[in-house]
């Protein structure tokens, strides 16, 4: 047996290529901002309808200095985090229960199918009635948005568990508990991760929408409020803050978790180009 028999060796990118990748990643943004600045410079539209990048930067600096931006961001992230955790706490156990127990699957399946067709934002009226305007209502909307993608993906994951893996460990002496622990749980992790990512993405969208209508603070409310006062640069600040927050969450929290588990196990690939 030789080292050449190892079919896949992990390739590390060299630092030089890394710098190049950063540059290529940034390029579209640089071009985009340049065109944006050029268009606003031409003053085709009134400034209040089309703020320039420089105005946005000024508004950003101002909101950062006064702390408004961070406070709103904090409020939003708290609602998102709380909503996600509550949604997942209900969705994950229900998913495994439905996936592993026929009776509960038959019982819950019609209910879940009906409810998951209803968008999280459709719960806004009840959210306001039950919790009043504020973070409670927003959190509830997020819970309703997070719950179904997590549940749905988990159920898909349980359906996709390879029977031969279960059979193999059974012939090694595994009973039901060991099968669940050593085969079902790890097998469903990629789909659970997809569910978590989708859940957070759905929750994030509902967060912004929910805050616009059902709250008095948070990033969504800030955008909505800025529009009332024709502070269009601050609208863009809020929108960018939302986009950047999502990007950071994905890169700093969700991707590393995925890398540490499913990619390392070879369960999912990075992309077609890496095969």
């Amino acid at each position: 047996m030789t080292a050449s028999e190892v079919s896949a060796e992990v390739m590390r990118p060299v630092p030089r290529a890394r710098v190049l990748r950063w540059a290529t990643d940034l390029l579209p943004f640089v071009v985009g901002v340049a065109i944006w600045q050029l268009l606003s410079f031409l003053e085709i539209w009134p400034r209040v309808l089309f703020p320039s990048p420089l105005e946005v930067l000024a508004a950003f600096a101002e909101d950062l200095r006064t702390g408004v931006l961070l406070v709103n961001l904090g409020v939003s992230l708290k609602s998102l985090g709380l909503g996600f955790v509550i949604g997942a706490i209900f969705a994950v156990p229900l998913g495994y229960l439905m996936g592993l127990n026929r009776f509960s699957r038959d019982f819950f399946d019609p209910l879940v199918n009906l409810l998951q067709a209803i968008p999280g934002l459709a719960w806004i009226p009840f959210a306001i009635l039950w919790f009043g305007l504020g973070q409670g209502a927003v959190t509830f909307i997020i819970v309703m948005s997070v719950f179904f993608p997590v549940l749905h993906n988990l159920l898909t994951g349980i359906r996709m568990v390879q029977p031969v893996l279960i059979e193999a460990v059974q012939t090694l002496g595994a009973g039901r508990v060991a099968v669940i622990r050593h085969v079902i749980f790890p097998s469903t992790l990629p789909n659970l991760m997809t569910g978590v990512r989708l859940g957070i993405a759905f929750g994030f969208r509902s967060l912004v929408g929910g805050e616009m209508i059902a709250s008095t603070d948070g990033l969504g409310y800030a955008i909505f409020n800025a529009q009332q006062y024709f502070q269009s640069a601050r609208i863009v600040v809020g929108m960018l803050a939302i986009g950047i927050t999502w990007l950071l969450m994905d890169r700093l929290i969700l991707r590393p978790i995925e890398l540490r588990t499913t990619l390392r196990w070879g369960l999912v690939r990075e992309g077609l180009e890496s095969t």
Binding site: S7, A168, T171, L172, W265
Partner: protein, 266 residues
Amino acid sequence: MTPVASDILVARNISKTYFDSVRNNDVHALQDVSMTVRAHEFVSVIGPSGCGKSTFLRIVAGLDRPTSGEVLVDGRKITRPGADRGMVFQEYALLPWKTTWANIEFGPRLKGIGRKERDAIVRRFVDLVGLTGFEEKYPHQLSGGMRQRAAVARVLANNPAVLLMDEPFAAVDAMTRQRLQEELTAITAVEHTTVLFVTHAIDEAVFLSDRVIALSGRPGRIATDLIIDLPRPRRWEELVRDERFASYRDELTRCIHGTAAVKEHA
């Protein structure tokens, strides 16, 4: 058939009929199959595709239930899968989230064997199947041949009464297959393993086995039960020139093709 004390595995009148929901009819996969496997014996079951040989193995493993008949292992009736009948599958079936070491350690760990003894067991079987240096690799980092070595080690480390193998070398390339076959005969000789091996490859069955049982086409019935009297250890480069090897192979070929032909004319 009267069981003898040294019979590890006794299958009595196994029949299996299942309902094919696509074709909407009953399929008679196995009919009245009886056999015994003695301690340290290497027995292969061969037959044309669809003869129920894999179904038979799955019944022995406890993964499928027979429609009638029973299987005894060490005198106990089989009702469910168990550690005494470890199975090696064609598709390796290693746990992707466990390293080679952790996969092989799986059975002993479930049994609650202590760390020190467990490490010694795993070490021995890692070395025995030639995976030294690959202990910390995940299955997807191994070649097909290495994965199957790991799968064999995983079952052997669990010390089963009988090792069940379901076309384990069908997915690897021809050269790797011959090497794995030679390694398997060497390992089972050293470990005194009792093996029940299912394959559709006649060469493979003759090469590996002390006895080859050929099943006829659907429904599977025992067509012949042939003792392979060839010296061990066996090597391909010697056996391909051995006349006895050729005659065993021809006899089994005639037997299987004969029953297949009869079946087609019926």
